[in-house]
């Protein structure tokens, strides 16, 4: 793909984000977009956010579970960049008016205390470099009409990042079993679903190692202090005004999030 096309699609997605409207799937218009092209479009979209005053605060890993990989016809995860504008505080309702077609996912978040420079990073390096982990919610959103995404569409659209909320109980990855830790998700006081860390690449730590290695090849920095959302352990939960979600990770703690207002779609 030509640099001017990359720029044009990156700008189109950024403007859709600002205007809270959707655009047609890129792959429908450009059937030859490669995954590399898609990441370059993502870089452009994120660069526009940074130019407008946001900072990079971390990364998210997506497409980490087998059902989602099967659905998109891929064999590996993807990633997007987290910016300061996506951070929501636990305890403050999320205004759905900021979003287009949001869905919630419950995850384990990592915060790094050392840089992770791939390739060659293993799960043991990730544990060594982790300051702490937290339960969290990612509210994914898509700038692509009706979530009609193929892998190139979601990667170009910054891995469908919306906003995210970190819980407040910090855990040490050496104090609990990240792979076998149960995940209990409740919606409006009722059990919604359960899962386990192993749903994410066998263990969330494996997803972070994959990310470090992928970023290393691409030359994208992965620094101490960054937040990593390691991938959804739950099914996607549609959310509307008044909904409240609680996720609890066994041996770690809970994160709670509530929603107000109406999304664009």
């Amino acid at each position: 793909m030509k640099p001017e096309d990359i720029e044009r699609y990156g700008d189109e997605l950024y403007e859709a984000l600002l205007a809270r409207r959707t655009v047609a799937p890129l792959l429908e218009r450009e059937p030859d977009i490669t995954l590399d092209d898609a990441y370059r479009i993502q870089s452009r979209m994120v660069a526009r956010r940074v130019a407008a005053g946001e900072t990079i605060v971390g990364k998210k890993i997506g497409v980490t579970s087998k059902p989602v990989q099967d659905f998109l016809g891929v064999f590996q995860p993807d990633f997007g960049q987290l910016t300061s504008g996506m951070v929501c505080r636990e305890g403050e309702p999320i205004d759905l008016g900021r979003l287009i077609q949001p869905k919630a996912e419950a995850e384990l978040a990592f915060v790094l205390k050392r840089d992770l420079v791939g390739p060659g990073i293993t799960a043991m390096d990730v544990i060594h470099a982790t300051d702490y982990v937290l339960p969290c919610f990612e509210i994914v959103d898509s700038r692509i009409t009706d979530w009609k995404i193929k892998i190139q569409d979601t990667v170009a659209d910054n891995a469908s990042c919306g906003v995210f909320v970190l819980g407040q109980t910090k855990g040490d990855p050496k104090d609990f079993d990240m792979s076998l830790a149960g995940m209990v998700l409740e919606k409006n006081g009722e059990l919604f679903s359960t899962s386990v860390g192993a749903a994410v690449q066998g263990s969330p730590v494996n997803a972070v190692a994959w990310l470090a290695n992928t970023l290393g090849v691409l030359g994208i920095p992965f620094k101490a202090g960054e937040i990593i959302l390691s991938g959804s352990q739950s099914a996607l939960v549609p959310v509307v005004d008044g909904d409240e979600l609680v996720c609890t990770i066994g041996g770690l703690g809970s994160c709670r999030v509530s929603f107000r207002g109406r999304s664009a779609v």
Partner: protein, 264 residues
């Protein structure tokens, strides 16, 4: 409980189910012959089956709760849980080999098992009473095996078939309930080295001790208590996975270790 079957029918159905269980062959569900059969009728047949087990010299070691998760209720098309008895001849040691030629169409589930130190009696038994009466919990694999063709049944039939009980395997690491969070324990079921299903213990009626309380309350309706020293399986955390000869199954649990079993 409401009964529609007469004593002669109860005895005949129990003999019919027992023959299917011991001979490992499938039979039509009982409601094909008795469409008006109730849950109470199902338990009446199950009680006669239990009497026959004891008469053969087997010991009743405990009980199982079944159909306790949303996944299982959806899979089986029922809306309330059930219970069944566990006899000494159904127990198998961990890491052993289970023969499939004396089963019809076995499936495996990972569960949290409770061992009680005091008797529990309903009605009104609740989670706190169950936890107070629990000596320890341990991880378990249950091998269920409906004797009904195609694993298709309704609630009265499955209750008469002793809740599809077939074999059970306890193992792993026994834990005191005060040392762990019983609601959020993760479990992964692997078949032949591949993760096939997973979940957390809250999938069992919100909390596995609630499933045990439910079981005690059903026993009260049968005018029975759960004796001290009972082994109680609280219900599948995940959907049930079919197994065949040659399969190796490992259930891995947060905080409780793992249980493995092979099939020949």
């Amino acid at each position: 409980m409401n009964l529609t079957l007469n004593q002669a029918d109860i005895l005949r159905l129990a003999a019919h189910v027992e023959a299917a269980q011991l001979g490992a062959h499938a039979i039509p569900k009982l409601t094909d012959e008795f469409p008006a059969m109730t849950i109470g009728d199902g338990y009446a047949v199950q009680s006669e089956l239990r009497r026959r087990w004891v008469a053969r010299g087997e010991r009743i070691v405990g009980w199982k709760a079944g159909l306790t998760s949303k996944a299982k209720m959806l899979q089986m098309g029922v809306s309330v849980p059930s219970i069944g008895f566990l006899a000494s001849d159904m127990a198998r040691p961990e890491n052993s080999v289970i023969r499939t030629d004396d089963l019809v169409h076995p499936r495996v589930e990972c569960e949290i098992a409770f061992v009680t130190s005091e008797a529990l009696r309903g009605p009104g038994c609740d989670r706190d009473q169950v936890l107070a009466a629990t000596d320890y919990v341990l991880p378990a694999i249950e091998i269920i095996d409906s004797r009904f063709s195609g694993f298709k049944f309704d609630l009265p039939s499955v209750i008469a078939d002793n809740g599809s009980s077939a074999r059970f395997v306890g193992g792993g690491r026994p834990r005191r309930v005060t040392d762990i969070d019983l609601r959020t324990l993760g479990a992964v079921l692997e078949k032949n080295g591949e993760m096939v299903t997973m979940g957390a213990s809250a999938a069992v009626l919100g909390h596995p001790a609630d499933a045990v309380a439910m079981l005690v309350n059903i026993l009260a309706e049968l005018d029975e208590e759960l004796p001290a020293g009972s082994f109680v399986m609280s219900g599948g955390i995940t959907e049930a996975i079919p197994v065949k000869a040659g399969d190796c199954v490992i259930a891995r649990f947060q905080e409780l270790g793992s249980v493995s079993i092979r099939f020949s």
